[in-house]
Subunit: 173 residues, 4 copies
Amino acid sequence: MNLIISGTNRLGSNSLKVANYYKGELLLKGEAWEILSLEDLPHDILYTDLYGKRSDAFSTIQAKVSVAQKFIFVIPEYNGSYPGALKIFVDACSYPTSFTHKKAALVGVSTGKYGNIRGVDHFTGVCNYMRMHVLPLKIHIPHIKDELNSEGLFVNPITSKFVNEQIDEIVRF
Amino acid sequence: MNLIISGTNRLGSNSLKVANYYKGELLLKGEAWEILSLEDLPHDILYTDLYGKRSDAFSTIQAKVSVAQKFIFVIPEYNGSYPGALKIFVDACSYPTSFTHKKAALVGVSTGKYGNIRGVDHFTGVCNYMRMHVLPLKIHIPHIKDELNSEGLFVNPITSKFVNEQIDEIVRF
Amino acid sequence: MNLIISGTNRLGSNSLKVANYYKGELLLKGEAWEILSLEDLPHDILYTDLYGKRSDAFSTIQAKVSVAQKFIFVIPEYNGSYPGALKIFVDACSYPTSFTHKKAALVGVSTGKYGNIRGVDHFTGVCNYMRMHVLPLKIHIPHIKDELNSEGLFVNPITSKFVNEQIDEIVRF
Amino acid sequence: MNLIISGTNRLGSNSLKVANYYKGELLLKGEAWEILSLEDLPHDILYTDLYGKRSDAFSTIQAKVSVAQKFIFVIPEYNGSYPGALKIFVDACSYPTSFTHKKAALVGVSTGKYGNIRGVDHFTGVCNYMRMHVLPLKIHIPHIKDELNSEGLFVNPITSKFVNEQIDEIVRF
């Protein structure tokens, strides 16, 4: 099954809410995608799943990643780039079975004004390095706290429109 | 004391050897810098030191970071960018006392051909976002396995020359 | 005299208005800076001032660049990055007398939402490559058409505040 | 016809030699691509073909760009990024008929050690902004003066191998 990666292990994150929105919209289009939340990373991943090691906990995650052919990465802005937690996840995944020659759509999320432009650009570099195809239409959602209502829907119809367009493109990609 | 950050928790890393080289050269110039190796990060840092939490283990690290005014970051290339472990360290550090208005010199290290140009550029974005001054002279060391001899010295005199120039600049910076 | 570079040759550009605002604010702080507008580039610069050639028209520009020790670059967003006209100007300038070891402050301008985050990041890479010190505080001004009033002042006091802070930093830099 | 863009107007450039190599290899695979050398840009393009203007000279170029569905950009490193001449070309092209939803393969060329990693990354940002699909396999050719022999062939078989792989991918892309 294809995966929506919620790119932080912060509990109750807006990124997970955005991931859920994407999952719901994909389902409306007849596409069943699974969410992989980085909340589920092993707490001691730095010790258990890098440099050739592999824990049982991560093996379950790795199995899902290996099977998926397309990914949507929801990427919050941490210190002006992608979260360390997201890169640790990527660094822990097996190479090249995880991402090479697969497809990615990227979604930047920020509390501030710029929707994580820089972090999404940095992550594009990571994806291309791993030889992933990156969908050119990237979504940037600034002011995320104002953007999502209590039902997890976007307040701004422009945002919904672009997200919808991106979803159509990743489905056809 | 100023800090040389060895930017990976991989045991026996070349980055730590490079950090040691910098420490030695700085000492020859009368500058005592301390190495902070990311080997020393708490194994469960994802759980203990993000989003407002703080462990005793990291408190010791944080105290050193808070005091330092200058940093040399040795940054190996992982999946075409900086390591997740390095960004987790940055994400865990207190804001703004850790890095804001301080100074950084960057050193890229790779087993491949390009000396982590991209990862160093990405990390420049992170540093500038945190309002750190980044020394324009950045060092890129490709083919690191051939570059260091058994005593941890650079085989190639051009590398030593540029490292020496960078060290002079960070001392005066 | 230090230079404010208006980074486009488009006539009547908002970048030139922003450059004028910086000039006025600097003057209020007792700093006389000169504007260099890329409107003044030779029209056939591609033919007359690259790869070792030098026209009389550009010689006047080069003389000003060679003397300046600090630069403020006002950089509009063209196709998601800095303008070709700005990079042609940089490519035409003599090396290393123009920029090496000098200082730069960067200002991104866009009609859209993101204030040229990407173009300013790209230009940071160019500046650092030329071994220019780049001020970490970079200003991003989105929606520029709404941001400037008919007198060339910023409507939004937050923008004025950050611009003022950047100006103080470049003066002390 | 699809286009190979030689990304500089420098006469006798190595980029044009690389473009010719790609053209020849494509022909061997039964693909007829045309080279568009930026030597052919109007000398006064800054004045004649930006901001809504269009010269006869550029109209011929624009017609070729509008028809092409795939592009190979050969991008030399100028001041640590892509050439101003290449970005002026992009800025002059009509939007969105030139590049949107089309496909690009990128080739970095440098006289120095790093094969224009940074410039190719920057240009990826430009392409993605224009909603071009960028082939993840990007080629970086450092030390270009040693790399090409007098017949315009690559001396290093590793380079030929990766170029060949990239060509296969852009043909199928």
